[in-house]
Point group: C2
Chain length 218, copies 2
DNA sequence: GTCTATATTTCGATAGAC
DNA sequence: GTCTATCGAAATATAGAC
């Protein structure tokens, strides 16, 4: 599509493929609870939402929640974890597939934005409520994020080497692109045309941010 | 600098110059309290920080804070308000000054990023803790944000008309640029070189996002 | 304007029956 | 696995002396 030489090997060095541990939200009831909680957390903030409120939304009493989660923080952790585990497990392999750096990054961003749009509230909660997690849980989440970000940086650098991208600092550009797309979760509306959104942001990222080197500017 | 025709009149229609009301953080003591509170809110989250904690940081007891703020939420409101009033009052006029759309937007983004870097924690709190505000206070903040965003959209549109920018949707592009630069407050470090940061992001925005139309891409 | 002391409310979590 | 009942802790905010 963009017609440029492509490296057959992964551009990331692949160190520390994050040790993906616990299952995320298994069990029908757990998933229901986490989903309802995410809606409330997104709208009112983690700390203002009570266990009784979450329980009522799924048709049970507050105490019964403790048969599914050991604490309120565990609910938040399950939500935040799903929003980083899925991208790492399902989107990062797209960077290791065949194709040019630009094509592989396009595939990742497409999946990323779709996932974000399909789980807008969970994504927002995972971004905003990091401070409410225990230090241990927060470390797991931020490790995933850092790994994801590093892999994006690596494919950007590969694109620069392949002549597909023109950026001074692949790290800065990767952060800028991810901040830009993650910003979507703050304002996305249910009636937004996701197909159009995805293609617009692909253009903004691949043909915009990642092509920002121009000669006629100091 | 970028050498392009410039409209002598503002591109924004100027409707609803936001009625800037209450003074923000007047009084030495108020400013001290708000500053300390912002640090704690940014690090631990609004709801996990107690009035006693804030009070201790400024050398008084919890009850004494109520001589300066009528509630904890008022402290948060003062912080959030300062982060939207200053940009509206001091940055928006840069859009009404002389110069091409690109030059005027560059001036605004420069001021925006510097302000953000100078008040990183307050900016982060203002972005993240909106849900903790009363509906009335939240409405004030979001009105400011919407106005600011609309003025950026208008200057982007003016730049498109002047042939300086190439974007399909000025509204989308404006949101993308603002999300990108506001994302800085999540990861900025005290030792970051702000001058370099500002120029990098100006390039990412003006020469990147706002130039994303390319012919060789579907 | 700051203090001590405390009122009042709310919430996360547990105990134990069924 | 869900319920009722409740514990215990923590927090905001207030009262009133100085």
């Amino acid at each position: 599509m963009t017609g440029v030489p492509e490296p057959a090997v992964p551009d990331g060095d692949g160190r520390r493929p994050p040790s993906v541990r616990p299952r995320t939200v298994p069990g029908r009831r757990r998933a229901e609870i986490a989903e309802a909680a995410a809606r409330f957390f997104a709208e009112h903030g983690y700390h203002t939402v009570g266990m009784r409120e979450i329980a009522e939304a799924v048709g049970m009493r507050g105490a019964s929640l403790y048969n599914h989660f050991s604490s309120k923080e565990e609910i938040l952790y399950a939500i935040a974890l799903a929003m980083t585990e899925v991208p790492v497990e399902q989107h990062i392999p797209l960077l290791d597939a065949e194709g040019s750096p630009a094509d592989r990054l396009a595939a990742l961003l497409r999946a990323h934005i779709r996932h974000l749009a399909d789980h807008r509230v969970e994504h927002l909660v995972g971004l905003r409520e990091l401070a409410a997690l225990t230090p241990e849980h927060r470390a797991v989440i931020t490790d995933h994020r850092r790994y994801y970000q590093r892999r994006v940086r690596d494919v950007v650098a590969a694109g620069v080497r392949a002549g597909q991208f023109a950026v001074d600092s692949p790290g800065r550009a990767a952060v800028a692109v991810l901040d830009m797309v993650n910003g979507i979760s703050w304002w996305l509306r249910p009636d937004t045309d996701v197909d159009e959104l995805v293609e617009t942001y692909l253009g903004l990222a691949l043909d915009g941010v990642l092509q920002h080197a121009r000669e006629d500017r100091a």
